[in-house]
């Protein structure tokens, strides 16, 4: 009884604001109006497009890094792990400012990039870089843990049976780590989808080009259009809620599989 009251209070405190916002969005015509408004629609498309590209980059570069961190022994490993984890605890505005100081037109690499005819800040590419920067650690962490838990003896067994390294990875390592990789991917996607601070600092807030859904929530609020702001926020809440629920269901299924197998 004594534990239930404070526990319940916290759950209500966490659930009430998001629940009320979603109810508010669907109670009036806010949602239907917002879906029809070009600002929200463009932002939805841009959010889906940029997070897809970011995710592809993160998986392509993050999987080898996770494998290295899970298996490799090399000097400076603790430092690499800390650097990889850093964006999780950094305020996103710091990430945005740092990205601007490196890739901005007056930044460390900005001059060289400009000579090559590439201008990154305040473009859609900047949105992607901001998302990769803040979201990659979520995938790398989960993937590293998942890969570290794969039983090496199973891989050796496959090798003894004549499998090449590629086949081992494809048929043994990756399937065994799949639940962790999927969970990491999904968390990483929702972090990228919700990315705001680094984006507004490094990519600005231009409709159709850099204005993703979280920026619509801010921009429309600033502009006094509360309805559009609420609708965009509700879409983000539902997406995040769905993602977390999916992760839970995946893990639950896996637990069932293990029990059936064991």
């Amino acid at each position: 009884m004594t534990t239930r009251v404070p526990a319940g209070l916290l759950v209500v405190f966490l659930a009430l604001p998001v629940g009320f916002l979603v109810v508010q969005a669907f109670a009036g015509r806010a949602m239907t109006d917002a879906i029809a408004s070009p600002a929200v629609r463009d932002a939805l498309v841009l959010s889906l497009l940029t997070t897809t590209v970011s995710l592809a980059i993160i998986v392509a570069l993050g999987t080898p890094l996770a494998l290295l961190l899970a298996r490799g022994r090399f000097p400076g490993r603790a430092l690499v792990e800390t650097v990889v984890d850093l964006p999780i605890v950094l305020p996103p505005s710091v990430a945005g400012l740092a990205l601007l100081l490196v890739f901005g037109s007056r930044g460390a690499l900005g001059g060289a990039l400009e000579v090559a005819g590439i201008s990154i800040p305040f473009t859609t590419l900047a949105v992607v870089l901001a998302q990769v920067f803040v979201a990659a650690p979520f995938f790398v962490r989960a993937a590293r843990a998942g890969l570290a838990n794969v039983d090496r003896q199973l891989e050796d067994a496959a090798r003894d049976l004549g499998a090449g390294e590629r086949q081992v990875a494809r048929h043994v390592t990756l399937p065994l780590a799949a639940p962790a990789l999927t969970a990491g991917l999904v968390l990483c996607w929702s972090r990228a989808l919700g990315e705001f601070g680094a984006t507004i600092m490094f990519a600005g807030n231009v409709p159709g080009r850099t204005q993703t859904l979280p920026l619509v929530v801010y921009g429309e609020f600033q502009a006094g259009d509360l309805e559009a702001s609420i609708a965009a926020a509700a879409i983000l809440i539902l997406a995040a809620f769905g993602v977390l629920l999916a992760v839970r269901t995946l893990n639950w299924r896996r637990a069932l599989d293990l029990r059936a197998g064991g």
């Binding site: 601007l100 901005g104 037109s105 007056r106 900005g110 201008s119 800040p121 305040f122 473009t123 600005g204 807030n205 231009v206 409709p207 159709g208 080009r209 204005q211 921009g219 609020f221 600033q222 502009a223 006094g224 509360l226």
Partner: protein
Amino acid sequence: MTRRVPALALVLALVACATTPSPPEPVELTVYAAASLRNALEQVEAAYEIAAPGINLVIATDSSAALRTQIEQGAPADVFLSADLGNPQQLYDAGLADGEITIFAGNTVVLIVPFDTPAAIRTPADLARDVRIVAAGDEVPISKYVSNVVYVLARLAGYAADFSSAYAANVVSREDNVQAIVAKIELGEGDAAFVYQTDALASGSVRTVPIPDEANVQANYAGVVIATSAHPEAARAFLHWLTGPDGRAILAELGFLPPS
């Protein structure tokens, strides 16, 4: 030989496609504009895209100072429309402007309160009482105008001797731009705020409290073409149109004054 024929046909077809006159690519003009211009620019965009076919305006609004910083950091803006002269002047001084700074509109400051105001503010003098005032950050252009207004008000008959300091002490929040101030008053998160006349007119849920004429000031809006613009001709044409009769008419309808 027979294999080469279809290949040749393909090449010819591609060449034909390349030389067939196609409608010109629409020119995308990116306009960075002060937040207080947002409503006006929605109408300007609709009117200008009819007046200048082939031009697609992309409008991003925020505080003039934030936009100026973004442009300095390489944001690909074609035109910058600021709520003051200072921010465009800084771009001009840094060599980031292409051509002259053009004043295209004016505005005045008004005092707004929520429709059902519990604090019952009848004159600006009431701002010295126990009320919650929402203001803009120091770097936002309106702050300069408001401090002028407050300075003059404090010297008028009927105003408390410590009006300026009482006003400053009552400020509960400082926003990034004027639209955000209006939003806070609409939500009842503040009892009063100085905003531009145009913002007050655009909002359906605030009341305006008159300011004595002798205390008011005219804010000037100035625009400039950005030096790095990929379409300087089109950018200049847009700025020219905005200061011409069609642009003026739209701005006047929304409560903007002619430039002084």
